[in-house]
Amino acid sequence: MEKKSAFSSFKKKYKNEITAYSIIGIPLLWWTVFFVIAFVWAFVVSFTDMSRGFTWDRVTLISFDNYIRIFSNTPQAKEFWSAIGVTSLWTIVMLVGNNVMGLLCAFLIKSLKRGGKVFLALLFWPSLVSAIVGADIAQTVFAPDNGGIINQIIIACGGRPVEWFLNPNTAIWALMVIPFFFGFCQKLLIYYAAIVAIPETYQEAAYLETSSRFKIFMKITLPLMRNAILLNTLLSLIDGFKVLGPMQLVTNGGPNNKTQSAMLLIYKSVFEKMRIGQGCAYAFVLFFIILAISIVQKKLSGKEETSYD
């Protein structure tokens, strides 16, 4: 009798916990397996020389050798830091390009009197296109000699055709064009949502002061879109750091590793060269770099919220 009441009082006291954990128990377990255990596994592997398939036999712990290799004068270090450079370049160009273009188009669509929805629909759909199709289009548009449309334009302007994907100086820039043109649409949609959410009265009040659209945009609209800008920045960073599709499908990291992104390098080390330990070490150095960046970004962005009340 005594025991039962103790149990029921326990049940009453922890009612919320029991419900909550019984609902999220399985997802949490799942998360533990596929994120926590996976994370720990990769961390442990990064200290080993695992290279004969994904098994633990004949694997030895080699302490920090994989990491030391990344920070000393070795081919691996050269490859890794060049990949980090490519990824950073990609991320920065995409971040700035996509967000500026998205903001601009969102602003222009908002200021249209008629047909805004049509343009939104027209501009958005390419972001649904997969990396495979994007890569194929890049190969068509930037075909070497006079087969591609870009080279045709260059020839028509009196220039010499460029071997876009074979020239180490142009390859990465040529790769960026299609993802830029197809990728800014998603940003555009989020910016458009934010721009539409700003009450009209704000702009009307601003029009009484000045007639310069640019000024109103910079002083009124932009600060009010802070949340959307932060969200898009975050999305661009996440997408940018794991970019692999265009590189793998078009150039496979060539020429001269000039288009080898970090993700491609890790994919190649783990699944093609089977240097799993080294690949995991690469991934963790990248992880710490990203962690540092996001901590700095958190510090800079603070925690204010935009509200229109």
Partner: protein
Amino acid sequence: MIKSLKWRDYVFHTFCYVFLILVAFLQCFPFWLKLVDATHSPEFLPEIGKVYYWFADFTMQNFGTAIQASRFFQALGVSLLHTCSFTFLSLIVVVCVGYVLAKIRFRGSGIVAGMLMMTLMIPGEVMLAANYKLTIFFGINTNTLGIILPGIVNVFGIFLVRQYMANIPDSVLEAASLDGCGEVKKLFWIVFPMSGPIIVTYIILTFIGTWNEYLFPMILHDASHSDWLYTLQLAMRQFNPKFGGAADNYVRSAGMILITIPIIVMYLVFQKYILNQSNISGLK
């Protein structure tokens, strides 16, 4: 003064239209080139150094060839299975966890949310090898489960949904509790219908993302060559000359058109929801 303002308005609007039409044209034009390419008959010999902007020697034959060479319908089936079951399972997870984190006050909720939040910062690279190892460990690396199960706890989605559900008034839920509604019942009969917009947004985002997913299926498929991992993206990859595909240019273009069609159809059907800006403003 007013006159000059009107004149400037006129110039500005013209600029808007010209700029947007130009951008839309630049986006659509490559697909037009692909379509033209895809409809040349196999015997058609293009002039060297000429880009064709209009149909020449029109035929639909290449589409048939592409469908046969890539085992299109089999791949379509696998892709549909993969995308639909992934979207469904991850939706259930996301809604349940999002609801619990948003609406139930329990000890440890901060810790759970914080731990989940940490996962957002881990780049996909770190998980690549480990997830592959896990699929082998669970014996699902040779069937569709291998590409469905690892990702179904979608942390980004959880926070998306939690944000939205947090705005549902507590009074509604309390009223339901007074009427004797349990938590699970509340979730599926009250909160679920009330979060319609964010759920639609989540379904669309996940569907598109999964449909276009290519890295992890490729890793598993290249290791086992199982038909259950042969998604549409991988089917079209074989036309990429880099992967040793024998298909010529026209068939390849036809393949690219074929693979884009399902997404376009989905876009046309769900356009209203995809572009509905009020859904996305929940993204704050």
